[in-house]
Symmetry: C2
Subunit: 438 residues, 2 copies
């Protein structure tokens, strides 16, 4: 099975765990069998590989997420990197071209496209296979998944099928309705449009040739930032006469708010938390290394990360976006392809971060124009390169780097450092990358 997972943009609906660079799908919140936690993207990827070990998975995403994806899924996963965000039609066209040209999937094979963040069980992935099989038959150009609604939601578009058969042609599409209209649609047998569909590669490549003057993958990639922003639904789905819908009655949850996300937690708390016995329906997700104590709360969600602390009534949690949009703050932590970093002190004229490099990884060879840096190695072993000079480092070693000096570090074992940055204008943009001469 060929799958394109659409890994959507960043957002603050799950602040302080999601932020401008960490999207909700990377939050590790689901308990795994070994007692750890996995994120939505890790959960979905694991489920796909359990259902079909040979599944060829391509993640369509922007370059800002590439580091986090490699951090969470390893280096082996296919990624169709979008130079910037142009909505779903350009993204799906680019990923389809990637699948065909880079991964070598023939034009008449089918591919399934689905979002990276549904909270679903194994039957969903069996249904993806069914969608792909149905698309491969060629009865229709597009085969959509229609999810049987469990309540009259205002959050989804609706598909009105021509019949109640397992596979039916589509009568019409409906935009996100109000509750009353949603009730009417459901009475007519409408299904939710969850943005899941299958097609033969050729179909989307042809659409891209027609609508985007597509010649090949490299061309599309290079012109990507100049493409019009347009959704796949609007550009393709709603205009396609040869279209079918396959109904799905299994579990399908969109964990887009704190309220829905915490409902999917296996235990009420993650991280250090103490709740007194008067607490009722309280969830705590604590990414800090100090305890959270809750007393006498009801229907409350508490979440803490290096970015901040949220304390919210469950119902109110869906109104978070405009509130946290007011908050201006720098990024306090991030997962990178080579490991992670966390800001531990902010002062005028200095910034102190904790850097963790995974074994066998190194950061880019780089320099800063406007700041000096000091590395204090606190654990592990590695090799530092400063202006071309290599030296081994271990816990207790200190490396000082003046502005302009090129540097990197390679982790032999997991390597942790306290990095002190000093300068009047410390900015993430003050970074020049260089090739390492070997």
């Amino acid at each position: 099975m060929n799958i394109i997972l659409l890994s959507g943009g960043s957002g603050k609906r799950l602040w302080p765990l999601s932020n401008d660079i960490r999207s909700k799908q990377f939050i590790r919140i689901f308990k795994t069998e070994d007692g750890g936690y996995e994120s939505m993207v890790q959960r979905v990827y694991r489920q796909i590989k359990t259902t079909d070990p040979n599944a060829a998975v391509t993640i369509a995403t922007s370059k800002t997420q590439v580091s986090a994806i490699h951090n969470q899924l390893g280096e082996g996963v296919g990624i169709s990197v979008e130079p910037d965000r142009r909505d779903t039609f350009p993204a799906i066209a680019l990923a389809t071209a990637y699948l065909h040209e880079v991964m070598g999937v023939p034009e008449d094979e089918a591919v399934v496209v689905c979002p990276v963040d549904p909270y679903v069980e194994d039957d969903y992935f069996q249904m993806l296979q069914n969608l792909a099989d149905q698309a491969a038959k060629g009865e229709a150009n597009l085969v959509l998944m229609g999810i049987e609604p469990t309540y009259p939601s205002e959050k989804y578009g609706y598909i009105i099928p021509a019949s109640t058969a397992a596979v039916s042609s589509v009568e019409t599409f409906k935009e996100k309705p109000d509750i009353k209209t949603a009730q009417d649609y459901i009475a007519q047998g409408a299904l939710w449009n969850g943005g899941v569909f299958a097609y033969k590669l050729r179909y989307v490549l042809d659409k891209a040739r027609e609508l985007l003057q597509f010649t090949d993958y490299a061309d599309l990639f290079n012109r990507y930032s100049s493409l019009e922003k347009i959704s796949f639904d609007y550009a393709v789905v709603e205009k396609e006469p040869y279209i079918q819908v396959m109904r799905f009655g299994g579990q399908w949850k969109d964990l887009g708010t704190w309220n829905t996300l915490t409902e999917a937690m296996d235990e009420p708390t993650i991280g250090e938390a103490v709740l007194n016995d008067v607490c009722e329906n309280v969830n705590v997700i604590n990414e800090l290394n100090v305890p959270i104590v809750c007393m006498g709360l009801k229907d409350v969600i508490v979440s803490a990360s290096p970015e901040g602390i949220l304390v919210t009534d469950r119902e109110q949690s869906s109104y978070i976006k405009p509130i946290v949009d007011q908050i201006e703050q720098q990024i306090m932590f991030a997962e990178k392809s080579w490991g992670s970093f966390r800001v531990i002190d902010v002062e005028e004229g200095s910034l102190t971060i904790k850097v963790t490099l995974n074994p066998g990884h190194s950061m880019n060879y780089h320099a800063h124009q406007r700041r000096d840096e000091i590395w204090n190695v606190i654990s592990g072993e590695g090799t530092v390169i400063v202006d071309g000079m290599e030296q081994p480092v271990r816990a207790g070693d200190v490396v000082t780097m003046q502005a302009g000096c090129r540097h990197t570090v390679f982790a032999v074992t997991e390597l942790k450092m306290i990095e002190v940055q000093l300068g009047e204008e410390i900015s993430v943009h003050d970074k020049q990358k260089f090739d390492l001469e070997s």
Copy 2:
């Protein structure tokens, strides 16, 4: 006026702002005219000095609080240091001896003793003067303040006065009652015993001679740790026949719980906090440098410090002690006589702290047996001494110190450093102090 302020022990009733080393009276929570915040001890000290600029204030406290007192009140305040905690009779005896022998107050002068943490207005300090004046007259050996009760509290002992006169003899004392009994006491005209009283120095010095084999201050200080723990009420007050009570009807609040403390706040929030407009009766005290967002909460108090995060219903906040007593954690921040420190990263084998030295101050000249240290100066200017060698330091300088090496730093301007500690057994007890040869 001579005043002894009893600065009580540490406790966790106001966790995470109070802890094993920071008592509630040092929490900066009351808005000052210049827009900053002052603690209870700072507020009371300022109020005393406003009422009587010549007041001789002696703070009776254990040595663990000396640094915090100097940090908050400066070096000029008198401190009677208790070698350890022996309850109030030994503490008051020691402070009285200190006042007489060290500060030179004659035996027939009066002194007022009061706790350091009542939340009161200027009329209270006028009343302290009245108490001292009454004690100076010599009509009684002890003159107590009797506070007119505002509700039938179970938290205080009661004084039954012989009459309703402004100054009366005492008929009897009553232990902390239940609510019903408290109502009965109040119907009889009882007053709260707030632990405020005045006497001539000679009276307590004689009691100390009689009960503690007191010879002089140095003797009492040296034997202090072997003295029996006994309260002044039990040892002295309840046995004294020549005793008067002076009634006080002004504001007197004991801010011992989060609920009472937050009621005294001038504004609902301190520190970075955003409350949506559905929040009702919510207080936030945030000592972290990241925002706290509250949505849809009612009657809730949120408090965050480097030690942890508390989210509590107002009423429930009085039950905090057994809950936080379960939590084992290291001290994450402290105010010292020379400045302050804060733990910013904890790892096995390393501890990273941020140190701030006030201008003109230095830490002890000291060494550690089991850890190396690295100082990364991030702002300010100072002088470092390492194994007797002096060197000036400024932002960007790095000083490495092996285990066993003696070191200190003197701040010329405010000096901030990131200190990385490395070793297998990092402990606050691994510290040897040395004299600096000049």
